[in-house]
Amino acid sequence: MDMNAYLSMFIDESNDHLQALNDNLMRLESAPDDISIVQDIFRSAHTLKGMSATMGFEDLASLTHEMENVLDLVRNSKLSMDDFIFDTLFKGLDALESMVEDVVQGGTGKADVTAIVANLSSIVKGEHKSGKAVAAAAETKPAANSAGNAEAGLLDQFQSSVLKQSIESGHQVLYIKVTLTETCVLKAARSYMVFEVLENTGEVVKSEPSVQDLEQEKFDRSFTVFTISTISPEEMIAKINSISEIESVEVLPLDEESLANLSSSGQQQTAAAAAPAATTEEAKPAAGSAKPAAPAKTNGAPVANRTIRVDIERLDSLMNLFSEMLIDRVRLEQLASEIKRQDLIETVEHMARVSSDLQNIVLKLRMVPVDTVFNRFPRMVRDLAKSLDKKIDLIITGADTELDRTVIDEIGDPLVHLLRNSVDHGIETVNERIAAGKPETGTVHLRAFHSGNHVFIEVEEDGKGINSEKVLEKAISKGIVKPEEANKLSQDEINMLIFAPGFSTAEVISDISGRGVGLDVVRTKITSLGGNVTVTSVQGKGTKFSVQLPLTLSIISAMLIKLGDEKFALPLSSIVETAIIQRSSILSVHGNEMIKFRNAVIPLISLSKLFNSPSYSEETEEEHEIIVIQKGDKWAAMIIDEFIGQSEIVLKSLGKYLTNISGISGATILGDGQVALIIDPNALIK
């Protein structure tokens, strides 16, 4: 059977299930007694196990199986959740994610998960409370190559420490050697039956040959198993002998001494040395855990069956076709107004209405709820809070707010930066919070909501706020602001300085908020998406970052203008006002032209000079048409020749040959088939 056909389906669904597992585990952590959540988790884990086994990803399947065992106990109220179990389950989940990621990258999804598996089985055995040595052993052996490469008959350091631990805590460790009859046909099936018996009565720690080899009949007639068992050796012999086609079975109960003999002596020593050093400290989350394995869809909840999955490329080509039609529509409208035939005008008007409906739908198709980005944050904040020893509640609202896919793809990293910043530098430690008279658990709000043609995403925490005096001090010493300007800055303007390039170097930030995560990178990214980020902060009360994003990047409303023969488009979102001014009202400040606008003096930009316009110059005019544009809270005015009007335009790139042209962000095709360049107002305001 060709598995490739199913691979992408497997990857999609695994990601769904992993996300569901993650979400539900988080929910469970806040409500550990809710068995219905455990049921959900169990279902996801079970499906994942089945899929992985079918696709031949044995490591994935076996890890999921172990997790399932733990969950099964919890589900049947035989085990109550505690921190250790959560951490182990989360670690297991991280491992699963990186395995699926490996599969996505074309790998085999193999990973050494024995450490996590052993932790899980120790949980099943109820050992984790008595001795934590297992956890330590697990940490000493980070996931590396494929499992099961220990020498024949020998236990590796880790396995022997698990067994040793079990013996110490009074469990029975058995060494079992099973030999099948010579005539046995289905050796794999028989060995599977033996394993079923073993797993029902205890936990298999080690088998030789490995379970994979056994399943693929890669063994002669006999195999050996180390198991932690709940039944006596006699019972075990009876049970295994009841399976047919078994020639002989040998069961040896092990004590510490015989175990030491089985392990190589050197390994035994290191294992013994490792045991006292045991700590229960949580290992750092696996490196790959924070990044999403692939664009995950909405929750794998049972309600999701009214949707279909569509290849993103098809949506893109739909969008391209539609934008070509939009250009033709504008052209038709133009022709109709020239020809002035009533029925043509009516038809074109009708077509215009239909196509604007169509435009709404096409754009909506590309909308993805921000949840696809948000869903990894609870986990991230949890891990971060744990590692920083802080108590933090992340409250997400408006996760169903939708944004264009192109924006969604880009917004993840800046938000991670902002959230990390809030958790790391914003929220105080528990002690500081108590001292400040605040509840010991800090709250981080992550909100998304629509407003007009924009989506706002806010990250707000109730931490210590920005120390604006220190910010100002640093900004002056770094030469970002001049001392004489400093007095004029408002509180918010000072706070905005933290976004200035060159401000947030690690060394600088360490005085104010610890470790620097380049906030100027965040701002650059967001402005490149046509958005904007602002910060407001009250010292002692908290800080709020507010990110404003355009709904879509592919079709925008724009103002079309003329400079002589040349036409340009300017995004409507950056226009504050259009006006006509007298040439005599232009002021000159240090040789720069400025005008008065709404009680402020703002710079006046000559577009014709900036773009070396061959067919227009405002020098000879008495009156100038101007457009006031904004970037954040800065304003500037541009002199133009003539306004054409407002229009919906389709963004096109200038291609790979022309990149980084200052002042131009792209191009669009007008109704007459001509190309008009789109002015990038952000580049014009310094």
Binding site: N320, E324, L610, G655, L658, L677
Partner: protein, 153 residues
């Protein structure tokens, strides 16, 4: 090793040039070009090629040769190299010929004012026809464009 090449022949000034046919996307008549400010002067601007915005450069200008007037024979040859699509303005484009790779000689240092690095070679066709084969990736080398840009600004 000899192989047959299909080559589009076009003329700039008095010279004849060749580009392998599989690198040429389309040949268009002159259409309105939108100037792109702040670019080197040989970049004439962008055109609308059936819904795709394509930059257009003047090859003579690219090689620092005098640019010729636009006539009714002027064509835009759109080539696709290294995932870039670029249009070349040429004086004429009216021939497709088969040549054998054996007849392509390595170019001398400078041919008709063009540095050798922009050329793949010179093909002799017939008795007195010379065909200059262009090295497109070098012609469209962007780092050089960036340097030019810095010189002009």
């Amino acid at each position: 090793m000899s192989e047959e090449l299909k080559v589009i022949v076009f003329g700039i000034g008095n010279e004849e040039y060749g580009i392998e046919v599989d690198k040429v996307r389309t040949i268009e008549r002159m259409s309105p070009i939108t100037r792109v400010p702040k670019t080197p002067s040989f970049i004439k601007g962008v055109i609308n090629l059936r819904g795709v915005v394509v930059p257009v450069i003047n090859l003579s200008g690219r090689f620092n040769l005098p640019e010729s007037e636009v006539t009714e024979h002027t064509r835009i040859i759109v080539v696709a190299v290294n995932e870039m699509e670029v249009g070349f303005i040429v004086d004429t484009a009216n021939d497709v010929i088969d040549i054998n790779s054996d007849i392509i000689d390595t170019p001398p240092e400078i041919v008709g004012g063009i540095q050798a690095k922009y050329l793949d070679g010179i093909a002799k066709i017939g008795d007195d026809r010379l065909l200059i084969m262009l090295n497109l990736s070098e012609v469209l080398n962007k780092t050089e464009v960036v340097q030019l840009e810095q010189l002009e600004v």
